[in-house]
């Protein structure tokens, strides 16, 4: 059995989780502070991948980043970067697709912290950044961990978006979920079974660890 799709999937999930952690922390912090029309719209956009069929999201990404049109053409022309049918494209699609799983739990946890914690820190002369790093972040540690695990696990299982923007190029965009589909198409059930079992095991361990880290309390992705 070719293990490349498994390694590719793990690489994609790791990079996506790292990128989303870097983006998710400041965005979730910003969203957690007060309400405004811009925040409501942005939050709706971030939540869309939860309810949108993955093929629809993939289709729009394909259109947007196709080298023949708009942004894709501009990126290709100016930076020689191509997102369609490339691993970079998979990362971009995964970041967008898994965004609610990273931002949702972190934003919710920040909103549940008493406002007086930040206020106490400010009166001690600490900046917003210092307050976030030393007071807020340590007190939402378990939610950040939940968000990281859920994002990683969710990226492992992506299919529709990944297939639309990445296709099925062995060693480049052929991740495990696509390898399962491909194996079934080719009537290679043992390979499909092996890929499925590996994905199932990894995902199961990830979900179990969410429960363990949260002391057996279930946390919904949007909590």
């Amino acid at each position: 059995m070719d293990l490349t799709p498994i390694w590719l999937t793990l690489k994609l999930a790791s990079i996506t989780t790292l990128v989303l952690l870097l983006i998710g922390l400041p965005v979730a912090y910003w969203l957690s502070k007060g309400r405004s029309v811009i925040k409501i719209i942005l939050e709706a956009v971030i939540t869309m991948p939860l309810v949108l069929p993955p093929s629809v999201l993939g289709f729009y990404l394909l259109l947007a980043f196709s080298p023949q049109h708009g942004v894709g053409k501009w990126l290709q022309h100016n930076f020689n970067v191509q997102f369609v049918f490339s691993f970079q494209g998979l990362i971009l699609a995964s970041v967008i697709y898994s965004m609610p799983f990273m931002i949702g739990p972190i934003k919710s946890a920040l909103q549940q912290l008493p406002l007086s914690l930040s206020q106490a820190s400010y009166t001690l002369g600490k900046t917003e950044r210092q307050t976030f790093i030393h007071v807020l972040l340590p007190n939402i540690r378990s939610s950040v961990l939940t968000a990281v695990i859920l994002t990683f696990a969710h990226t492992l299982g992506e299919f529709g978006v990944v297939l639309m923007i990445g296709g099925n190029i062995p060693g480049v965009t052929r991740v495990a979920s696509i390898a399962v589909y491909d194996s079934v198409e080719n009537m290679d059930y043992p390979a499909a079974n092996a890929y499925s079992l590996i994905l199932f095991s990894i995902t199961f361990i990830m979900v179990i660890s969410v429960f363990v880290f949260n002391k057996y309390k279930a946390k919904s992705p949007l909590e």
């Binding site: 008493p114 106490a120 820190s121 400010y122 009166t123 002369g125």
Partner: protein, 207 residues
Amino acid sequence: MITVDIEKKLRAYKGQQVLKIAAQFTAGSITKIYGPSGSGKTTFLKIIAGLIAPEKGKINVDGNVWLDTGSNISLSPQKRKTGFVFQNYALFPNMTVQQHLEYATDDVQWIKRLLAIGKLETFAVYKPEYLSGGQQQRLAILRAMAIKPKLLLMDEPFSALDPKMKSELIPELKLLWDELGTTILIVSHNPQELVGLTENEMEINPL
């Protein structure tokens, strides 16, 4: 000298009320603030600390303008750096007693002195969840004192302390306040609590 002249709309059960306060506090004085529940006592302290913005007003501390809505001046809470004792303590769950004080100041000797005053030396490595209500309240006071504030705002600071602890702690704090020349505003419901500590009183009643 601290001069305050502010106006802030308050949301109340019976429609809207206006908190309108004009007052002066002498440097180094201790003033008790009292008034009915929901009258805006906490809001008043938070306005002074820069945590809540009033619709209109001016705050002047020792000749420095902290707030002047007419000129669009409003110093951040970090610049005002008032000591603030929150009614709910607002302790950081991730920090031990020692870390609370180290977060506020680098002065090791000062931290030792504060721990001794609050009788919390033996609890230095404990996080708030392992402290009693009274210990948590003392920590909240010590943390506010750690920055050696020129103005200390205290919201029901002694409510969880037993009479013995209160009678031991308050004189010790008074020594510190005198030493630093700190001006104190204390919100308190209990009329007996601050007897002998302050002669200045201010009643808050929204319009």
